[in-house]
Symmetry: C2
Subunit: 250 residues, 2 copies
DNA sequence: TGTACATCAGTGAACGCGCGTTCACTGATGTAC
DNA sequence: TGTACATCAGTGAACGCGCGTTCACTGATGTAC
């Protein structure tokens, strides 16, 4: 029964988030809508920040669940399909919950410091996206070029043809090579979200990941106003292009 | 003298933005720091929203000026250099002024509706970036592929080789083709920031533009925490990759 | 050169509002003997 | 079966705070004659 009420409080708080924004979230307003006195809420959340943390975790989880579900419905070998499904789910969830999206992927709430508990849920979307790239790579479906010596083969993709020093195809004028300082990051990524992929694949996956959220944020935050009219179609195209950038096939 | 005081007010407001965030911006606090009584500020700004609008316009202008300056210092034919300079300037300005960046490119301020006056300054950065792509295209330096029939030639780039129906090189497994619904948008873009470029070049420029801000936002808003350690070098690499994505040469 | 007047930047008090958090408390519920 | 007690959800008042905006006002400055 306590859990039930806790959930009801976060539901109301989420609804208020949608009308007032994160900075306008108020314990008193939540209590009012609950038909409680403001101090009663302190039985459930010891401060406003704790409530905010709960909302952030919920937001990450909701986005993660939406992406997992959409991506999970695809054939495992359909890597571009999985990518498009994941991208589309991110966008659809963001459009359906713009204030929650802003809360977790937008500007930080001033004066609020995200606690450790948020990092697990925060990575769910990244895990899905990483798995797509990883699976495609290990399935030999990811287009080159690879940085010399790291790749297991794979088709020559939009990079075209050419010969790299390590025997893998590296096209003339191919992709830039990640800086050496990226190596430790790549190691960490391999251990978590991008098992088995070479550094340059990981680096481009990261850029595509940031690009995906750049597109969604631009759309939601108004930068595409008077620029793009048919947003659904354009987004699908853009997501496909980013997937191609990351090396995914057609 | 009136202009002087107006500037002083916005300066103080900008400083407060940096410590309290946009939602915490308060006319009273500004007045306090000015050594004025709160109502005196109304001589200069008739409401809090008007002050916010001034700050947004200043923010867009500052970002625009920084990008224009950095990009303007490059040799005109050095398209990739111009691109890297512009990207680097966006990021450097954002890091130097994180709250102003959040104000203009982050989540919208709840309850605030941006007036028309903001759209001019808002486009300064886009104009610079568009000019780089446009110049490179018209200079014949932009890599293919083009969508059939639209291009003026240009080198075959990361797309590799292949033959398109219109005679321009379109590689097997090349870039996706923008949806037909994008045509009117492309027309509009050609008239403003991307003169003369074909639709698919415009579309990829748009994606690279969103990707650039996705990278900057991810870095500033904390998504790269525990992911990327050497941010300067990685960003340079990522910007180069996005430039390549948009078709720029090495 | 001197006076009358208009302008307008800045004052000070007030309006009505909402906020987070604390604290001693009430009163229902369930448990132990 | 009945009594004493502990638990704890929710109350109500209060603390001290800041906010945007309004309004009648003061008093210095500059201008017109």
């Amino acid at each position: 029964v306590r859990a039930e009420l806790t959930r009801e409080i976060t539901d109301i708080a989420r609804r208020q988030l949608a009308t007032e924004g994160a900075a306008g979230l108020s314990l008193r307003a939540v209590a009012r809508e609950m038909g409680m006195v403001s101090s009663a809420v302190y039985r459930y959340f010891s401060s406003r920040d704790e409530l905010l943390t709960a909302l952030i975790i919920d937001g990450y989880n909701a986005a993660g669940a939406a992406v997992e579900e959409a991506e999970g419905a695809c054939r495992r070998e359909d890597y571009p399909g999985r990518w498009l499904a994941a991208c589309g789910a991110v966008r659809a969830w963001a459009i359906a919950h713009p204030h929650e999206y802003a809360l977790v992927y937008g500007s930080p709430v001033p004066g609020y410091q995200a606690p450790q508990q948020t990092i697990g849920p925060a990575s769910r979307v990244a895990v899905v996206i990483g798995a797509i790239i990883s699976d495609a790579y290990r399935g030999g479906a990811l287009a080159g070029p690879w940085v010399s010596g790291e790749g297991p083969g794979g088709v020559a993709g939009p990079g075209g043809t050419g010969g790299g020093p390590g025997g893998w195809p590296v096209p003339r004028g191919g992709w830039p090579v990640p800086p050496v300082s990226f190596s430790p990051d790549a190691d960490r990524l391999r251990e978590s979200v991008l098992p088995g992929v070479p550094s340059d694949v990981a680096a481009r996956a990261l850029i595509a990941w940031a690009g995906l959220f750049g597109l969604v944020s631009f759309e939601l935050f108004g930068q595409f106003e008077n620029v793009i009219t048919e947003r659904d179609e354009f987004f699908r195209y853009a997501a496909a292009s980013l997937g191609r950038f990351a090396g995914l096939p057609d």
